[in-house]
Assembly symmetry: C2
Homo-oligomer: 328 residues x 2
């Protein structure tokens, strides 16, 4: 079985490639080769699984045909222009998040019509398809009312995923991932970056700023859980899904205060003292319109599992991304 | 105020043009000129309102720029490939229903960015954005789960309408019209055609076939009501709408049996006897997945009004489209 990861240089894409190179199978079917593609050249994971890495702009003419030219059996489509960038760059957001996705879907459809090709396609969607006012928790049958261009773009691709799957052009499944905490590496520019930062930086003995109140509640899962969702989706019997192909993934519903308490339990009061509250009304307003918690009943019934607590999120980070860590 | 109707040769588009040529204003703002466009050349309505009629393929390169070149203040976007055709012709459906709509939206956006142009845009959406399983009645906040390519395409444009309006590129409003009954003219190929046919043909002393059971329930409004919705949408204060720009329009919830009883009241048992039941399992299955009734609370609160009974639907047809009709 050939596996293609589009967006393989991203944090989740790279972790997914490493997991697949270790597992060498999905749901019992052996993987014979990995193909990794991203705008910047992805890094091949350790191990001896045949792996082809390519730098490629998915918005370029012919890129989609090129990506599916080896007819991968499983395609992970993780490539996207992120939320803030898609809000600043209207044309670019639609080009990357809608047009490139549709070009990929169309390349698969043409191969389907020519030769019956119909791969499993796993699409990373987003909780940004939801916008205020929202119930807490948000049920699986909540209407999608995005309040950003990024959320609109993801909701459009969710609709396309259902229609192309209904037609049999591919066997699609979409996952709305929780906010990923703790992201390894340096702080990034995302509005949601502080959810990781207020844990990651103090764990490393570094200061961190908190732009919102401690009462803010959000939906979190670890990078390891996100990779687990993707692998499970690739191997799932989609007959269980019905016509609605995208599901909200499980996560930990926690307040920022709950995160800080867990940090204290793991790393002590000194770590907590490294968090400085610097209210940012703009970030607070944006986060305030986001969903806070979900009842992901469909995904739970299909065996998707996240962590159960912030303590676990921290433990997973220390195991996977901060080996050798000890409390100061 | 300049008014553009895209899809002006269709039944609703032509009736809308006649109504605007009579009214010569929308919400008190005088209309100075009409522009009518469709694939086939539209017919100018009676009266002396300046009117330009054009045959134009909205999927052609440059068509969208051309349509907005005179910067109409109000644009009615009614052009579409219908449900059955979009299901048979996958590429054509997306080209007409998604790509041409987006090209129109983009032409407006570019004019907005160049010179601040921001027209009112009234978009005809469809109940096909909903698919089984559905509650009865369907509430305004029901999740959109189309079960056809046509419904998918309309749901995508609803999402775009919200995003472009949120950005201020235009002031959009979308209407999900009920099934239109009684459509004047000859029977058409639409799966829903019998909802009109079982009234229209017997009223004219002609036989008609009924492909579904009398228990089938559906959501109906007259062509006159549909035109009324569009005109009201063009003049509405959209500040009342909030970020969700598309609404389900009110209608008459009736069973086929209820339609036939009303026919009997107006035209007698002889007319009813002209209906022959010829069950068509394929049509029955398709109609069975359609929504049956709605609670269009948002539209009702904003003053949108449909008929109250099938008897009224018949009366409107006889007044508007069968003048001089008398019971046999």
């Amino acid at each position: 079985m050939r596996v293609l990861i589009i967006g393989a240089a991203g944090m989740i894409g790279a972790k997914l490639a490493r997991r697949l190179a270790e597992d060498r199978q999905i749901a019992g079917r052996p993987i014979t080769a990995l193909e990794l593609a991203d705008l910047g050249l992805p890094v091949a994971p350790p191990g001896d699984l045949p792996c082809r890495c390519r730098a490629l702009d998915i918005t370029a003419e012919g890129a989609a045909e090129d990506l599916v030219s080896n007819r991968p059996d499983v395609i992970f489509h993780l490539a996207a222009m992120v939320s803030g960038a898609a809000e600043r760059d209207f044309e670019g957001g639609y080009r990357v998040n809608v047009d490139a996705s549709r070009a990929l879907f169309e390349a698969i459809r043409r191969a389907h019509e020519a030769e019956g090709y119909a791969p499993r396609l796993v699409f990373a969607s987003s909780l940004a398809v939801y916008g205020a006012p929202l119930p807490d928790p948000v049920p699986d049958d909540q209407i999608r009312t995005p309040r950003s261009s990024y959320g609109t773009q993801k909701a459009i691709v969710e609709l396309l995923l259902d229609d192309y799957s209904r037609r049999g052009f591919f066997d699609g499944i979409g996952l709305r991932l929780p906010t990923i905490v703790i992201r390894p590496g340096a702080p990034n520019a995302a509005a949601s970056g502080f959810f990781s930062g207020i844990l990651r930086e103090p764990l490393a003995g570094l200061p961190s700023t908190l732009p919102v109140s401690r009462e803010v509640k959000h939906w979190l899962a670890s990078p390891r859980a996100a990779v687990g969702f993707l692998v499970r989706a690739a191997g799932l019997d989609t007959a269980q899904l019905g016509p609605r192909r995208t599901m909200t993934m499980p996560g930990v519903a926690t307040t920022v205060g709950g995160q800080i308490e867990a940090l204290g339990r793991v790393a002590g009061a000194e770590a907590v003292a490294l968090i400085e509250e610097v209210p940012d009304p703009q970030i607070a307003a944006m986060i305030g319109s986001w969903p806070r918690a979900f009842s992901p009943d469909r995904a739970t019934a299909l065996g998707f599992e996240a962590e159960g607590s912030v303590d676990e999120l921290i433990a997973v980070y220390l195991e996977d991304d901060a080996p050798g860590w000890t409390a100061r």
